[in-house]
């Protein structure tokens, strides 16, 4: 009797909870690793304009495992992630499908999407240097962070975080494994505190005098500096300035960017709506929201930036293809372990 209760309850609940959204017509189901707060305004505006309801589940980790386990019956239409590695993993595991869309192909540059339409970049997130505002420093290379003159002055989040892994993978591609390992050891030796916390903690800890500089994503600065004057976050943001580093040895130079991107799920029950959502997300309105509300760098050229982000100057993107970065991701993660970066 008790076991039957264990099985019966989900049955009933599923009728009430799940079956309805999965079967209804004008809907699209979104599985995302993006924080809901960041994409909700975009989705709301999509629903307003198209009348298509967006059902979301924010899966922090395990998006791939969940979609794979759900298999052919998965209700997922669109898979959205904040890291190129995660996105390419989905593609590599055959969980996405190629789509043809003139809109997407014209907006998203070729090196920022899958050639077969299996994934698309929606926004760029440059990984930049936060430096104390009084520090006399105008330009910076990623490689400089290992310079012994910054000993005890560097703050950064866990080396295993996807944002750092992606950067380290890019460095392996540019400078080779050995140079990257030495770099990591150098940065580790320069750390002012444990490699932990989030990107905004770098600004906060610079204000607190724990460190003078560190790497973090640029859009956080847009958010902090746009907070009301006198608020806690605004003080963090005002304590720092942003420098867009380049790779010293990269052929053309350029700043490392990670992407937020999306793909249409292999078994998408609402494929048409899924494509419409993706097209909407690279449209002027959505791209402007990415830039103005999230302070990210729009993938569409010519979209107006938030003034704070615009003040960092033009973004010259490291031309290394995303697939190349993804290729070295695992090696990057193993390097972080080997030098004991997070210990």
């Amino acid at each position: 009797m008790r076991v039957s209760a264990l099985i019966k309850w989900p049955f009933l609940a599923s009728l009430a909870l799940a079956a309805v959204p999965a079967l209804a017509a004008d809907e699209v189901n979104l599985y995302t690793t993006r924080e809901p707060g960041l994409i909700q305004p975009l989705l709301d505006s999509f629903s307003r304009d198209t009348g298509i309801k967006v059902n979301t589940v924010f899966v922090a980790d395990g998006l791939l495992e969940r979609v794979r386990a759900e298999g052919g019956r998965s209700p997922a239409d669109v898979l959205m992630t904040v890291d190129s590695g995660n996105l390419l993993d989905l593609v590599g595991n055959g969980l996405t499908q190629g789509i043809e869309s003139a809109t997407l192909e014209s907006v998203v540059p070729a090196h920022l999407r899958g050639a077969d339409g299996s994934w698309f970049t929606l926004s760029l997130r440059d990984r930049v240097l936060y430096a104390h505002k009084d520090l006399e420093l105008d330009s910076f290379n990623y490689e400089d962070l290992a310079d012994p003159k910054w000993k005890g002055k560097v703050c950064i989040r866990s080396g295993q975080h996807p944002y750092n892994i992606s950067l380290i993978a890019a460095m392996i591609a540019h400078d080779g494994v050995e140079a990257t390992e030495n770099w990591l050891r150098g940065v580790k030796a320069n750390l002012a505190r444990k490699a932990a916390g989030g990107d905004r903690d770098v600004a906060r800890d610079i204000l607190a005098g724990i460190c003078d500089l560190g790497l973090a994503n640029a859009y956080y600065v847009g958010r902090m500096k746009n907070e009301p004057a006198g608020s806690e976050q605004r003080r963090w943001g005002d304590a720092i300035k942003v420098i867009r580093p380049h790779f010293a040895y990269g052929s053309e130079g350029g700043t490392h960017v990670n992407i937020s991107g999306a793909a249409v799920a292999r078994h998408a029950p609402n494929r048409g709506n899924a494509v419409r959502l993706l097209e909407y997300l690279v449209g002027d309105q959505a791209q402007s929201l990415y830039a103005k509300a999230n302070y990210e760098y729009p993938v569409k050229a010519g979209v107006e930036l938030d003034p704070v982000v615009a003040s960092f100057g033009a973004l010259k993107v490291d031309p290394l293809p995303m697939t190349e970065i993804a290729r070295f991701r695992k090696q990057a993660s193993e390097l972080v372990d080997r030098v004991g970066f997070d210990n």
Partner: protein
């Protein structure tokens, strides 16, 4: 055939229906472990050597130090406070004796968030210290960073000590009176009474409370990751998420599971010969009155864990929420999440209690019938295994079996022309199942221990009076079991409400709980927005903790696994 089976059953009187149900339940628990083992077996050897060389040594060392540190902290605070409130009378003792349970309502990740803010060089504590010392910038003077092993030990200890406190206090309250009074009357001083009588007496209770606290520590991901401590659980997570290597993660997770099982077996083995039954009627120990400075010292000592483990983080969250509410009001999403959290926790609690009762009852029935006892005992232990698995690991292990289940249902539904969609995976069912498997140890262990207090001879007496086993359960055990059931239920409720990793992975679309809402805010580095969710988790969690304090004065936490 049927007749033969019946005579066989009559002959050995095996409680077959119950045992089979219990075995089925245990099989469901073991399923994710089997899936993990299969996944681990696919792992590449190259990775295993990488993990073995560069990850495991440091992670094991960190984990060991963390366990050792937390063990000492919870042992000292839990036992010390339990002893003080049981043996002595001092100002505030009555309300402190239940307030000591309050930190149970504060999840580890919440205490970590709160204290990072409180103790940050820019936070209120260090600002005050700087003002007092006459420094005007944190660049001139700072306290050590909380993001360290010591910080993590302290914070985990502050919210996990109630596990030890509750069990040890229950032991002192129900079993200690006669022995301790004899010791006192024989002239033993207070120190001797504590070290030579109370402490040895409390040892099994300390072991039980500590094993709960240490399992929580071992499986903690929130606080350890947030404070940057590379524990084994954090490594499992990193290996899986960052390297997309589920096989490697499963390998580490399984080694951890083996370690936990070994520890539990060892702990049980070490006290196999000890018997703590007491024939004396249980009654509370009359506390000795402390006077003057000693009395106030006792008040101060016992207040400290409550202040640090509950009042400080709670006040901080309340203040932050108040500020946010003034600026933005209460978001409707938070209210939805509160309702979701409450509903799913109530349902999961009901199912977990029922499942725990099934496991414990089939063991009791086997003891009563005098056959199948070993099998039933193993079933109970296996059924309790989920508590030893980190939530994330359990959740990944569950994905595949649940997909099978859904495929099976879809086939049946398809045969009668229905589209069932994703029955378990897309409903709260997946969550309820995960919570049940994860926390079954709490109810099964508690109820089993509850049965243990009633000699089987009493069942036989009732049986000889013509009562069926069902009637024995209803009329003999039910009244006696109620405290254990209530206590187990309340703990499961609190744990379910706080649970984060499995909830994140297995919840249906458009379904946020307070924990996931808080996590989402933390994920974009905006923990101050999560203050409200954190506050609500603590508030909802307070309810059962206060109830827990009232039922049998907290005598409810029992042996896991």
């Amino acid at each position: 055939m049927a007749a033969h089976a019946l005579t066989l059953r009559q002959r050995v009187r095996l409680p077959l229906p119950w045992l089979s149900l219990a075995a089925l339940l245990a099989a469901v628990v073991i399923l994710p472990v089997i899936v993990l083992a299969a996944t681990a077996a696919q792992g590449s050897e190259g990775l295993w050597s990488h993990v073995g060389r560069h990850v495991l040594p440091q992670a094991s060392l960190n984990t060991l130090w963390l366990l050792l540190g937390v063990g000492i902290v919870v042992g000292v605070i839990g036992t010390g406070c339990a002893w003080l409130v049981s043996a002595y009378e001092f100002p505030g003792r009555r309300w402190l004796s239940w307030a000591l349970l309050l930190p149970l309502a504060v999840p580890t990740y919440v205490v970590a968030y709160a204290y990072l803010d409180l103790l940050h060089p820019l936070g209120p504590v260090q600002s005050l210290v700087r003002d007092l010392l006459g420094y005007d910038s944190p660049r001139q003077f700072r306290l050590p960073d909380i993001r360290s092993l010591a910080g993590c030990i302290g914070l985990l200890g502050l919210v996990l000590y109630p596990y030890v406190y509750a069990t040890v206090r229950a032991m002192f309250a129900t079993q200690a009176a006669s022995v301790l009074e004899s010791a006192r009357s024989l002239g033993a001083g207070p120190v001797a009474v504590f070290t030579r009588v109370a402490l040895p007496l409390a040892r099994p209770a300390i072991a039980v409370g500590m094993s709960l606290a240490l399992l929580e520590t071992l499986n903690d991901i929130g606080a350890s990751q947030f404070l940057g401590i590379q524990t084994l659980t954090v490594s499992v997570y990193t290996t899986w998420v960052t390297r997309s290597d589920l096989a490697g993660a499963a390998q580490i997770a399984l080694s951890m599971l083996v370690l936990v099982v070994l520890l539990v077996v060892l702990e049980r083995y070490s006290r196999r010969r000890q018997r703590y039954a007491s024939s004396a009627r249980s009654r509370p120990l009359p506390p000795a009155r402390l006077r003057g400075g000693k009395a106030w010292l006792a008040t101060a000592l016992v207040s400290l864990p409550v202040l640090l483990g509950f009042v400080a983080p709670f006040a901080f969250l309340a203040w932050e929420s108040w500020k946010r509410m003034g600026a933005h009001g209460i978001p409707a999403a938070v209210l939805d999440a509160t309702w979701n959290t409450f509903t799913i926790a109530v349902i999961a609690t009901g199912v977990t209690v029922a499942a725990g009762l099934l496991l414990a009852w089939s063991l009791r029935l086997a003891q009563y019938r005098g056959t199948g006892e070993r099998f039933a005992a193993v079933t109970l232990r296996v059924g309790s295994l989920g508590y030893a698995l980190p939530g994330t690991v359990l959740a990944i292990g569950l994905l595949t079996p649940m997909a099978w289940f859904d495929a099976g249902v879809a086939r049946v539904a398809g045969a009668i022309g229905l589209d069932s969609g994703m029955v378990l995976m897309a409903s709260g069912g997946a969550l309820v199942l995960a919570y049940t498997l994860r926390f079954l140890a709490i109810t099964a262990g508690g109820i089993d221990a509850g049965f243990g207090r009633v000699p089987v001879s009493m069942d036989h007496a009732a049986g000889s009076l013509g009562h069926t086993p069902g009637a024995i359960l209803r009329r003999v055990h039910w009244p006696l079991l109620r405290p254990a059931l209530a206590g187990g239920a309340l703990l499961v409720f609190v744990d379910t409400m706080k649970e984060l990793p499995a909830t994140l992975l297995l919840r249906p679309m458009n379904f946020e709980t307070l924990a996931t809402w808080l996590y989402a805010d933390a994920a974009r580095g905006a923990y101050e927005d999560g203050a409200m969710a954190a506050l609500l988790i603590v508030l909802v969690g307070l309810l059962p903790v206060i109830l827990l304090a009232r039922t049998r004065r907290g005598a409810v936490v029992e042996v896991p696994a």
